[in-house]
Amino acid sequence: MSHKVVVPIGPYHPLQEEPEFFRLYVEGEKVVDIDIVIGYMHRGIEELSEHKHFDQIPYSVERICGICSSSHPYAYVLAVEDILGGEANVVPERALYIRTIVDELQRIHSHLLWLGLAGHFIGYNTVWMWAWKYREPVLDMFEMITGNRNHYGMCKVGGARRDIREEDVPVLKKALDDLLPAVDMFKGAVMDDPVIQARLKGIGILNKKQAIEWCAVGPTARAAGLNIDVRRDDPYGVYDRVSWNVIVENDGDIFCKTKVRILELYESINIIRQCLHNLPKGEIDANIKDIPAGVGIGRVEAPRGECFHYIKSDGTNSPIRHKIRAPSYMNVASNKVAAVGQTISDTTITLAAVDPCYCCTERVAVFKDKTDKKLMNGWDLIKLSQEKTKKLQERLNGGNK
């Protein structure tokens, strides 16, 4: 018996009616094909940039995505600074450190956010609550140094918009010290739990060859064995002055994707500590007045992967062209192979595993082919996923007696 399956993920923010974001075609319990429909978040930001001044654009690109809201402005200012000769030649040193600190704090909050959501999808609501609880102090740190929990407004062409005060540095250091035991707890709770291992290992695999064909980036690619990270390959900020590791796993399944993100939390804490220790005194803004004609490319490693911006200027106040390519653009498309072959109960976690900048985690529904009658909605599919975990728990715990 075949059904036309449309999978809704998350009753939290997507609209509960059509349009389906992911159309999954199933035969029995197995997914045989997937059609991905996007565009619900399209606001025409590239076109808006052509009517804005260079200094107004960071505000609007920040609002491309609320979770990686420092990555897009950073990649944008790097593109403009590329026209001017490159970040390292233009931006004062202290500003490089500030940009790096904000970028890594963002990675911490984003990975904790994902951890919480992933926990919820597989039925570990305690993980959700704890991950988001420990995310709050990180947001407090953002509020302390930038003025806002989200949307920081820290990047400008030629430097940083706000400085980190001397008295904030020890507070930041303490917050990181307090975060470390929490990360240890998550690592233990997630990595060592036999039910989570059974739930996530071998599921939602995107192997290395597929990751290359689909041009995947970020933790999705690194979990598949692709050793790529913009921070190391095309350094910006002070990533080439602090010591840190690129985390790569090889099996390409959801367990590896989870492991990469958790281990990256440790690296981020380590990077910020080194930056705070070495933070030089000095100016934070090069006071750029004019942007000459030319082209520039800027890219950063957002929590989800490479965020790519291209700017073409003709010497006037506004760019002629601003091209934006978010990391999820490449990763979400790769679900075409990662989700196929899975069972329905695994789809929510598979689709969520690429960490689709949440803006993209739309809805899925299960239809009956000929009648177009909806059989299941997103709420049902998350329940299915959570039920599978419960059954696994019973089986594994029963076996231990």
Binding site: P11, H13, L15, Q16, R43, S60, C65, M129, Y358, N377
Partner: protein, 140 residues
């Protein structure tokens, strides 16, 4: 205030509709249900379907794909249904006013009962806004 509305003020089922947001407001709305703010202690819960909702929370800028859906959602919600527009985008589209993909602001699609501006509004601001709405319903 009738009995129905009075009952509502004790327990609000919230349905969250996102019309093309950057997700910051959505994350802050979800944050309300996590330990630090924990609005469930006020009787506020998330509804799985709009047909069980008392409140429709709207975030984001309506674009052509989502504007129609928002209208349908509102029509399906059992009345009385209070609409809360959360965030600068839902209140007035802010920086996306001139976008070629946005036909109009939220309050030209559905009637809005409460505006909570901010980018994103802090969870405390959202709670303050909801309390304002509840007080209005109670006749204060």
């Amino acid at each position: 205030m009738n009995l129905r509305t009075k009952a509502l003020t004790k327990s609000l089922a919230v349905f969250h509709a996102a019309t093309s947001p950057c997700n910051n407001c959505d994350i802050e709305v979800l944050d309300l249900f996590t330990p630090r703010h924990d609005v469930e202690r006020f009787g506020i819960t998330l509804a799985g379907s709009v047909r069980h909702a008392d409140v429709l929370v709207v975030t984001g800028v309506p674009n052509y794909k989502t504007a129609e859906r928002l209208k349908k959602l509102y029509e399906q919600a059992p009345k009385p249904c209070f609409v809360i527009a959360i965030g600068g985008c839902a209140c007035g589209r802010i920086v996306f006013q001139d976008s070629y993909n946005s036909p109009c602001p939220v309050d030209e699609i559905v009637p809005v009962d409460l505006y909570i501006p901010g980018c994103p509004p802090k969870p405390e601001a959202m709670i303050a806004g909801i309390i304002k709405l509840l007080n209005k319903l109670k006749g204060k």
